[in-house]
Structures are given as C-alpha cells and as structure tokens.
C-alpha cells in the first residue's frame, strides 16, 4: 500500500476537493474588492505552480520567473491599452508625453486583441525556449543557471526602465478600461474575472499534474536525480530541461496576462529581483516537490501579507525572512513534507502495510 501521500488516486481526489472549494468562493463572497483580491492570489498560485514544475520536479532553480510573468503582463497591458485607443486618438498618452508621433512598430500588433493575446503568451514562451535551449545545451545548471536567470531578469528590468517611450518606464502601463474579449467586458471586480483566473489555475494545475505523472515527468525526475546518468540512457537532457523550463514559462506568462486583467496595471516592479524571489519563497515554504503545496504556499504567504496590511509590512517581511531561513535549514521540502510525514505515521499503525522506505526523502511521485 505505502504512504497515502504517494497514492495517485488520493492525490487527484485532493486536487478535485481543492478546486471545488475554490469554486464556491464567488458564491460566498459578495465583496467585489475581496473577490478581486482572491483572484490575484490565484495568479500567485499559478506562478508558484510554474516554479514547482520547473524547480521542484525539473530541479532547475529559476530566479527569473518574473521574466515570463512580466513579459506576459506587458503584452496584456499593451493589448488592453490599445483597446482604449480610438481612431481619432490612436496613440497612448504616455507616448505623446514622450514626444512619439506615431505608434511604434512594437505596438502595432497589439491593435488587434487576438494578435495581442497571442503575442503576450507566445513571446515569453519563445524567450524561454531560446534562452533555455542555449543554456541547457551548454550544460549550464544548478546555482549557475540560477545566476544566469538573475542576470537576464536584470537585463529586462533595465531595458524596460530605459525605453520609457515604449514601455512607460518606471511608471509602467495603466490601461484605463477593463479587458474586452469580443463583445464581452471582463470587469476585474466581477465574478467573471475570478472564473477566468480559476479556470486557468485549474487547467494549469491539472496539465502540470499530468505532465509530472507521465513518462516525461519520470525522465525529468531522473534528470533532477542524476542528469549525467540519464544521458547514457539515450535521453537528451538539454531537450527535456528546455521543454520543462518553457512550459513553466508559458504558465507564468498566462499568469502575467491574468494579473493585468485583474489589476489593470504593470510596472518594472513585476520584473524586480525581489518579486521573482518571492515566487521562490512561496514554492519553498509550501513545498516545491508538491504542486498543491506550492500553490497553497503562495495563498498563505500573500494572504497573510495583505491581511496584515501596509502598517505591519516590515514586521511581516522580517518574520517571513526568518521563517524562510528556518524552512530551508530544517524543512527543505517545505510544509508539504509535514503532511507527508503525518501520513507516514498513520501508515505505520496499519499492520497490514509494508514498512515505509526509510521515510526521509520522498519518492518523486509527489
């Protein structure tokens, strides 16, 4: 039988319960401001999920997840900005302030909502495929890859800051209206916006869960364990790493789009090092080897942060930092490993089951 924690049916059951619980939220919450906030947690959950896939399952620590998120967010913001421009007034105000007289090439595709959305997701995904492909083929891995993602993140951060006329610079973009999809307007404070995020989060989670349980997932876990050995089994390690890094980037890009839909705002702060590192903290505290653990990590931490509010922000971040240190030092697999251990205890009381394999490190099932 083994530990229930590794039972695939049980895992799926927990996922279904989890999303059912998230599904009833709009029915219980009437405060539209609160609902909007819950939806943003969903976006953070998607980010944590994307990192859990890449880092927890693929063993690739990505400190620059903000790249894909930020590019997706900018793409979405550009699309929404252009939705509010009319034929008599085709150029966004901040460009006029920066004395641009015509719409730059970079912005032209975003005049079409469909093309804009495609670009918002495709551009970051393509970036991940190319950057990841180059790095992994050169066998850059571990802490070294982490530093490279930091460098790349800093590069994007500075270029967006610098090209003010195209990106809005430090102020970022603040599209005035809510997102129009065809004839349908998605008011960020409406249940519809919540449902969109809910749908993407659920879709991404199930997709990711399937991937981790497939043959592909097995190979990536093997790569995490011993990449050198896996090469001699005939698998292209670089290929697998690139694919998992790219899928992770795709999810982050979708999260970026959702985020702008909810807050109608994007700025270089989303590409700041500290934001990308907070994604790492969510996944680490929740448990990077567990998709659900990571999502919950994001919910708990971001929830606590907004509950405590701005007045206690410094104290909260102090506590968070301390807690994070404790988790890394004593609980490398995050809070999810406590659940695993709890089930392990439960299992030993059952005399019919075989003794647990030495308990300590989890089998990679989840």
């Amino acid at each position: 039988m083994g530990n229930l924690y590794y039972n695939k049916t049980a895992q799926w059951a927990v996922y279904v319960v989890f999303f059912a619980a998230l599904g009833v939220v709009p029915l219980m919450v009437s405060d539209s401001f609160l609902l909007n906030q819950f939806a943003t947690y969903g976006v953070y959950g998607m980010l944590a999920l994307s990192l859990s896939l890449c880092w927890g399952f693929g063993g690739i620590l990505n400190l620059g997840q903000g790249i894909a998120f930020g590019l997706g967010a900018y793409g979405m913001a550009m699309t929404m900005q252009m939705q509010s421009q009319t034929e008599s007034n085709p150029i966004p105000p901040f460009m006029l302030n920066n004395s641009l007289e015509s719409l730059p090439m970079l912005w032209q595709p975003f005049q079409s909502t469909t093309l804009g959305l495609i670009l918002a997701v495709a551009a970051p995904t393509l970036f991940c495929a190319v950057f990841g492909g180059i790095m992994f083929r050169a066998r850059v891995s571990g802490p070294f890859f982490a530093i490279m993602t930091l460098a790349m993140l800093s590069a994007f951060y500075t270029i967006i800051l610098d090209r003010q006329a195209y990106t809005g610079g430090v102020n970022g973009l603040t599209p005035p209206g809510s997102f129009q999809f065809g004839d349908f307007e998605i008011d960020p404070y409406s249940p519809a916006a919540y449902w969109v995020v809910f749908g993407f989060l659920m879709g991404a989670t199930f997709l990711t869960k399937l991937i981790t349980q497939s043959s592909f997932g097995l190979v990536t876990q093997a790569i995490r364990d011993d990449a050198e050995r896996v090469r001699f089994l005939g698998y292209s390690v670089a290929g697998y790493e690139t694919v998992i890094y790219t899928i992770s980037g795709l999810i982050a890009a979708v999260a970026g789009c959702c985020w702008v839909m909810l807050v109608q705002y994007v700025s270089p702060a989303q590409m700041d090092v500290s934001f990308s590192l907070s994604i790492v903290i969510w996944a680490a505290i929740g448990g990077r080897h567990s998709l659900l653990g990571s999502i919950l990590g994001a919910f708990i931490i971001q929830g606590a942060q907004s509950y405590l509010g701005d007045t206690f922000l410094a104290t909260w971040l102090l506590i968070l930092g301390g807690f994070f240190i404790v988790v890394v030092r004593f609980l490398p697999n995050g809070l999810a490993s406590l659940v695993e251990k709890a089930f392990g205890l439960f299992e030993r009381r059952d005399p019919t089951s075989s003794p647990a394999p030495d308990g300590g490190r989890p089998l990679p099932a989840e």
Binding site: A138, L150, A151, L161, V273, A314, G322
Partner: protein, 291 residues
C-alpha cells in the same frame, strides 16, 4: 566622437570599475573559497553604511575611521551568520543561496524597523567634497578615494592570500578539503574566517557607497546581482574579479557615452550572459573546479 571625450569615458570607467569591484570583493573570496552564494551580500553592504552612519552620528567618529570600524562590525555580523547558519549548508549550494536570501530579508526589514525608511546621509571631510580635474574630466575627489581604497584592499588581499600562512591554508582547502584536513588544516575554521573577512569587505564597501549614494535599508539590493556577475565572470578568483570589473566598468562607461547609463547596463547584462554561455568557468578557472 573625438578622442578627448573617449579618454574622459575611459577615466570615468576606472571609477565605475572600482565600484563594481569593491562590491564584488567580499563575495569573491567567499564564493571562491567556500563556494557559498551569499545573497545577503548586498545587505551586508547596507549594514556597513548604517554602521558608519551610527558611528558618525552618535559617536562623532571621523569618516576615515568609520571605514575600518565598519569592517570590524560587519565582519562580526558575518561571523555570527556563518556560525549560526551557513556552516550547516556547505554541501547544499542552492540552499545556501535561498537561506542567505532569507537573511537578506531579515537584515533589510530589521534595519527598516530600527532606522525607518527615510534616507540617512554620511558626512565626509571637506577635502573629499571638491572636484578634481583629470585632464578634461572633472571627477569628485571622493571617487578617487573609492578607487584608492579599492586598490589598497586588492593589494592587501593579494598579500593575504599569497604571502601568509592563512592564504596557503585557504588555497589548500579550496583545492581539496579532505586532503587539507589530513595536513591538520581545520577547513571549518578557514571557512569561518573567510566568511567574516568577506563580510567585513562588504562593510567597507557600504561605508563608501553610503557617501556615493544615500543610505537606505534597500540600498543593498541593487549591488548584489552585479557583484555576483563579476564573481562569476571572473571565475571566483581575485584576479578574475579585478579583470572582470575593470573590463565591465570601462565598457559600461563607453556604452553610456554613446547611449545612456541604463541602456549601458542592459548591454552589459546581455554581454555577460553571452560571455558565460561560451565560457561558463569564467575568465580564470580555479584549479579546484567547483562547479
């Protein structure tokens, strides 16, 4: 462009290089010796700036004495950090990276709670406030102080690593920890001292940066990534970081001459990524390959 403005850019480049380098010095010896990726390095720099501020504001210590005093204070913080946390994580490089990021959060927020978020300023002797003409470049005298202090520290470190018993021990531990241990070298002690030394260097950098810019709890964040890149590009050795900072500073200055500061930094980041793609071991690979 004319020759004299290029010359100006090159002279400015030396100043920029010294800033890149002094931010990276402490990190270089910590990473080079123990392989620890210390994400709290920026906050150690910040602590250096606040130490100087405290000493100057409350004890009235002259600025030049604040430099060594900040070294000692931040070195002690580094010592405590190594004993309390880092030493448990030496075999887990990714975890040291994460844990030290936690440390950086704690330090930053702790300082914010104590000192508040409003900027502090360091006063320097009047003679450093003037400008000096170098050829046709007008450079603030303090930037020359930064270059001088950086140069002194590099020479000092070189002597320490290549002319003392401690230096021999450090290099032995870097090459082969087990072998060094069999010769009676206590690797744990070497790591501890090196970490304290690296932290102390961050303290000096902080005391200098506090004058170049304002003193804020968040000031460290902007230095840590660029300091890392210098270490990685250099390959983790002292000479590597010196050359990497020198080249980067000059390039940045020249690019900034053609475009602007921010865009120049963008180009630098991209060039570094490209460079490391083809030479992941950095400029000067260490004999004991750590990666």
């Amino acid at each position: 462009m004319d020759l004299s403005s290029l010359l100006n850019a090159l002279i400015l480049g030396v100043s920029i290089a010294s800033i890149w380098l002094i931010a990276a010095l402490g990190l270089t010896i910590i990473y080079g010796t123990a392989g620890v990726i210390n994400m709290a390095h920026g906050e150690l720099i910040m602590l250096g700036a606040y130490s100087s501020y405290m000493l100057q504001f409350h004890l009235g210590l002259p600025y030049l004495l604040c430099l060594p005093a900040s070294f000692v204070i931040v070195a002690l913080v580094g010592l405590a950090l190594e004993r309390g946390l880092i030493r448990y994580l030496y075999n887990r490089p990714l975890d040291t990276l994460l844990a030290t990021y936690g440390v950086s959060l704690v330090l930053m927020q702790g300082v914010r709670l104590i000192f508040g978020s409003d900027p502090k300023y360091l006063a320097v002797p009047e003679i450093f406030q003037s400008n000096v003409m170098l050829g046709s470049v007008s450079l603030s005298a303090f930037r020359i102080v930064v270059v001088a202090v950086t140069a002194l520290l590099v020479i000092g470190l070189w002597l320490l690593f290549y002319k003392t018993r401690y230096g021999v021990q450090v290099r032995a531990v870097m090459q082969n920890k087990e072998m060094a241990a069999s010769f009676g070298i206590n690797a744990g002690r070497i790591y501890m001292l090196t970490f304290a030394l690296g932290a102390g260097l961050a303290g000096v950098a902080g005391a200098l940066f506090g004058v170049l810019a304002i003193v804020l709890p968040t000031m460290g964040a902007s230095y840590v990534v660029q300091a890392f890149l210098m270490v990685v590009v250099g390959g983790g050795s002292l000479a590597g970081s010196v050359v990497a900072s020198g080249v980067t500073g000059e390039l940045q200055s020249v690019f900034a001459f053609f475009t602007n500061d921010t865009f120049a930094r963008f180009i630098i980041f991209v060039l570094i990524v490209i460079f490391l793609r083809f030479r992941p071991q950095g400029l000067f690979a260490q004999a004991g390959a750590r990666r």
